[in-house]
């Protein structure tokens, strides 16, 4: 059975507090566990959500035990082009950093050697096209390409996005095909499920929750014989082989 894990932060001790992240991540978790037959591996929030759960082992993290042990991981909280953020008083520190923040290949994420296929970061700016650090401009590939060690797709935003309760539930409902019930209120027994692809689901979710100047985005890796662009989630359609070692990366921005 596929597994899902979610982490969320409302109660930041060093950034502005957020309000709806528990409902956002909880909605994603509940939909896949209660309506798609997935195993709920973890739902960690605030002081129980740790950067360490995402961090690679050669930087003393425990990603193989947590994020890389599930098929789909969903995180919601604060973000920037250089990473995404936790409380400062949890292991290991407050930032899952990208490459080129503290060193060319010192990023925390190296995912997919274990189980993980999809990582959704419902945070601001993480997939922004480019930003400067120390006078040098780095694009989204520079910052995140090395994170893909079998992981298929990262979903996030290039811009800021609103702190709202529903993205996780709507995203999951598009993924498992139950969106006519969740979005439109139809009895779920009335229709065969019509799941959307992972990338289409992310864009559809953004369209249902964000203002039109917000821009969702995805980044995926591929190789000959492994193209995750058309991935569905497990149990709802075809899933590509793990694209590792990848020979290309693709970034798609999508205005809401």
């Amino acid at each position: 059975m596929p597994k899902v894990g979610v982490e969320w932060i409302n109660d930041y001790d060093w950034l502005n507090q957020l309000t709806h992240e528990h409902e956002d991540a909880g909605g994603f978790f509940d939909e896949l566990v209660h309506h798609a037959g997935w195993i709920g591996a973890f739902n960690w929030g605030d002081g129980n959500a740790w950067e360490d759960d995402f961090k690679r082992t050669d930087k003393s993290g425990h990603a193989p035990d947590w994020v890389d042990a599930v098929d789909f991981c969903y995180f919601t909280g604060h973000g920037s082009p250089w990473g995404f953020f936790f409380r400062s008083d949890v292991p290991d520190d407050g930032t899952v950093e990208s490459d080129h923040l503290s060193g060319p290949l010192n990023g925390d994420l190296r995912l997919g050697r274990g189980n993980l296929e999809w990582l959704a970061l419902e945070v601001c700016n993480t997939l922004q096209w480019e930003d400067m650090n120390g006078g040098t401009t780095y694009n989204v590939f520079d910052r995140w390409r090395a994170a893909f060690e079998g992981m298929h797709i990262m979903c996030s935003f290039t811009t800021t996005s609103l702190d709202v309760a529903t993205p996780g539930r709507y995203f999951a409902a598009y993924l498992d095909g139950r969106w006519p019930s969740v979005i439109f209120g139809l009895p779920s027994g009335w229709f065969p499920r019509i799941p959307l692809k992972v990338i289409d689901s992310w864009f559809a979710m953004a369209s249902m929750t964000q203002p039109d100047w917000a821009e969702a985005a995805v980044l995926y890796a591929g190789k000959s014989g492994a193209n995750p662009a058309d991935d569905y989630i497990h149990g709802h359609g075809p899933v590509s082989a793990d694209p590792y070692p990848h020979t290309y990366r693709v970034w798609i921005p999508h205005g809401c």
Partner: protein, 264 residues
């Protein structure tokens, strides 16, 4: 103090004949199903749904052709004119753009923009090359009332095409009728900044060091939550916080989009 109108939205209680005809135009072959909340029709790959008045997304018409992935590259996307004509014909035939209001104090506009969406592909490892790949031709509408921007899932019209035969995806959320509910005082931008400052100030060093990137006023047509279906104005403030690990401040810090009421 300036004033701003608050509008009441009425959305269409779509008739079966109209829903079935839209489905036929989009190539959806199936039996229509209805509740008080929605119309729905699907076949093996396509689905069409319409949210009725009183439901969370009242006025939303959503279509997807699940076989045509938005991220799947195509060798050629449809010409802009083909897309504009196709979408324009559908919207006109089924009156999916609201008619002008009889009240001259309610002036809505719907300006369309056609554009090509591309992915950016990085190939190779050490000497990577970057190229663009076409994905879709899309049409999006800029919705305004009395020249004020209107956004949100229930004030949005977007079509995405991967071939000239028809769309892969439609999100059309609009009212049928818009009327002035009442006029309210508009909070000044300075007051909004002060409220924002009060809200952000708190424990922690980073929260005390922030700057406003932008502040925009827009109506937001969000989910209907009961009561009169009001179209309310909001300020949307984009703020950036100082990252304590970045003493030189030579890279972008964490940002947040905060929605604040623009009137009482």
């Amino acid at each position: 103090m300036d004033e701003i109108p608050v509008f009441r939205m009425s959305t269409e209680r779509m008739k079966k004949d109209k829903f079935v005809a839209i489905a036929a135009q989009l190539g959806v072959r199936g039996e229509p199903k209805a509740t008080e909340e929605a119309w729905f029709m699907q076949d093996k790959q396509r689905a069409l749904a319409y949210a009725m008045p009183g439901s969370r997304f009242g006025g939303l018409l959503f279509f997807t052709d699940a076989a045509q992935g938005l991220a799947t590259p195509v060798s050629r996307v449809p010409d802009n004119k083909v897309v504009q004509d196709w979408a324009g014909a559908l919207l006109k035939r089924f009156q999916l753009i609201p008619l002008p209001s009889a009240d001259e104090k309610v002036q809505a506009s719907f300006a369309s923009r056609v554009f090509r969406r591309e992915s950016v592909v990085e190939e190779g490892q050490k000497e990577a090359k970057i190229r663009r790949a076409p994905l879709t031709t899309e049409i999006a509408f800029d919705v305004r009332v009395n020249e004020q921007h209107v956004t949100g899932p229930r004030a949005r019209v977007r079509f995405a095409f991967k071939n000239p035969k028809g769309p892969a995806w439609i999100h059309r959320g609009l009212w049928e009728k818009l009327e002035i509910f009442e006029t309210r005082p508009l909070f000044a931008e300075d007051d909004v900044y002060r409220k924002l400052s009060d809200r952000i100030s708190g424990r922690g060093t980073a929260r005390k060091v922030w700057r406003m990137i932008s502040l925009r006023l827009a109506y937001f047509a969000g989910e209907f939550c009961g009561g009169p279906d009001l179209l309310l104005p909001y300020y949307f403030a984009e703020v950036e916080f100082r990252d304590p690990a970045n003493e030189k401040r030579d890279r972008q810090g964490p940002r947040q989009l905060i929605q604040l009421p623009a009137c009482p």
